[in-house]
C-alpha cells in the first residue's frame, strides 16, 4: 500500500491541511538540470563561474513553484471532489455519498463528516477503501488534538490550529504504521 497525499478541507472549502508522502518533485527537476551543467563544465571552463549563481536561484524558484503547484493541486482536488459529490447526489439520491474514484495511476478516497469537514486521500490503485482510516483520523486525531485543543481557533483560516505538534506527530505515526503493515 502506498499513500501519496492527504488533504483536509473546511466548510468554507478552504484547504486547511495538506501533507504529501512523495519524494519532492523538485529533486527530479534539479537532477535533470544537473546533467547538462556537468557536461558543460567538462567542455568549457567559462560555464563554471555561472553555475553557482544559477543553481540556488533555480532551486528557490522551483521551491516557490512547488508551493504554488501544491496549492493549485489542492484547489483542483477540491473542485473535482465537489463536482463528483454533487453528481453522485444528483444521481444516487440525497442519501448517497461519493466514496472514491480510480484512474490508471492513482486512487482518490473521500470522506465527509457531518460538520462538512472533508478528508481526501490519494493512494495507489490497489488500495482498498480508506474510509475507515479517514474516519479514524477524524475521531482519534482531529477530535482529540485539534477540536479539544483549547489553543486552537474555531475557524482554521490558513490552516491555523491544525498544524500543531501532537496532530502532525499522531498522523505521521498512524500513516507510517499503515504503510508498514
Amino acid at each position: 500500500m502506498v499513500i501519496y497525499s492527504f488533504y483536509i478541507f473546511d466548510r468554507h472549502t478552504e484547504c486547511i491541511y495538506s501533507k504529501t508522502w512523495l519524494p519532492p518533485p523538485s529533486a527530479a527537476t534539479t537532477s535533470q538540470h544537473d546533467i547538462p551543467t556537468n557536461n558543460s563544465t567538462s567542455g568549457a571552463g567559462s560555464a563554471n563561474s555561472t553555475d553557482p549563481h544559477h543553481n540556488p536561484m533555480r532551486s528557490a524558484r522551483s521551491a516557490v513553484s512547488a508551493a504554488n503547484k501544491a496549492s493549485d493541486d489542492a484547489k483542483l482536488i477540491f473542485g473535482t471532489v465537489f463536482s463528483l459529490r454533487n453528481m453522485v447526489r444528483k444521481l444516487g439520491g440525497e442519501d448517497d455519498a461519493f466514496i472514491s474514484y480510480r484512474t490508471a495511476q492513482y486512487k482518490l478516497h473521500y470522506y465527509e463528516t457531518a460538520s462538512n469537514l472533508r478528508f481526501v486521500m490519494l493512494t495507489d490503485t490497489g488500495t482498498l477503501s480508506m474510509r475507515n482510516v479517514m474516519h479514524q483520523i477524524y475521531i482519534n486525531l482531529w477530535c482529540e488534538y485539534v477540536v479539544k485543543n483549547p489553543l486552537s481557533p474555531v475557524e482554521h483560516k490558513g490552516g491555523a490550529g491544525v498544524r500543531n505538534e501532537l496532530f502532525e506527530l499522531g498522523l505521521n505515526q498512524f500513516i507510517t504504521g499503515l504503510i508498514a503493515r
Binding site: A28, S83, L91, G92, F98, R102, T103, Y106, L122
Partner: protein, 160 residues
C-alpha cells in the same frame, strides 16, 4: 447485479446518447440535467488526469538518453483520467476510447465484469453507429439498430 444506464459523451464533452435500462436504480433527471452532467464529467475527467501524483519517474532516464543502444525512444503513457467511481448506491465505469469518446456505464455496486460489458457496447457502437450512413459524427445517436442490439445485450446481463 444490475446495469442501470449508459451515457455516451463525444470528444467535445457533448452528450450524444443516454439510455436507462433499469428504473429505480438512479434518480430520473431531465435532459438538460444530463447535458450538464456530461459537460461536468468531461471537465472533471480532464482534471483527474492532471492530478496524477505519480510523476512517471522511471521513464525519465530512457527518454533523456535517445542514443542508448537498442533502447527505443519511449514516450510515457499519458495519465488516464477517472476510470471507476464508487458511491454508496452505484458504481460508474468510464471507458475512454482512443478517439476521445467516453462511455459511462452506471451499475449497482456489486456488478462484475464491467470491462467486458463496456467493450461489447463499444463494439456495438462501432458497428451500428459508425457504419450507419445516416449518422453524423459528433451528433446525438438515433439508430434503431443500435438501440435494439444494446437493449437485448443489457437485458441478457440484467436477467442473469
Amino acid at each position: 447485479m444490475t446495469v442501470f444506464s449508459l451515457v455516451i459523451i463525444n470528444k467535445a464533452g457533448g452528450l450524444i446518447y443516454n439510455r436507462t435500462f433499469h428504473e429505480g436504480g438512479l434518480n430520473k433527471l431531465s435532459t438538460n440535467d444530463y447535458l450538464v452532467l456530461a459537460g461536468t464529467f468531461h471537465g472533471v475527467h480532464a482534471i483527474t488526469a492532471r492530478l496524477n501524483p505519480v510523476k512517471s519517474a522511471p521513464e525519465r532516464p530512457l527518454s533523456n538518453t535517445p542514443g542508448v543502444p537498442g533502447g527505443i525512444l519511449t514516450r510515457p503513457e499519458p495519465p488516464s483520467g477517472l476510470e471507476v467511481l464508487e458511491s454508496e448506491n452505484f458504481r460508474l465505469q468510464c471507458f475512454n476510447t482512443l478517439t476521445g469518446v467516453k462511455f459511462l456505464l452506471f451499475t449497482d455496486t456489486t456488478q462484475t465484469n464491467v470491462d467486458v460489458i463496456i467493450r461489447r457496447i463499444y463494439e456495438l457502437y462501432s458497428d451500428y453507429v459508425m457504419k450507419n450512413p445516416f449518422y453524423q459524427l459528433e451528433m446525438p445517436i438515433r439508430c434503431d439498430m443500435f438501440d435494439r442490439k444494446l437493449l437485448s445485450h443489457i437485458r441478457e446481463i440484467n436477467n442473469r
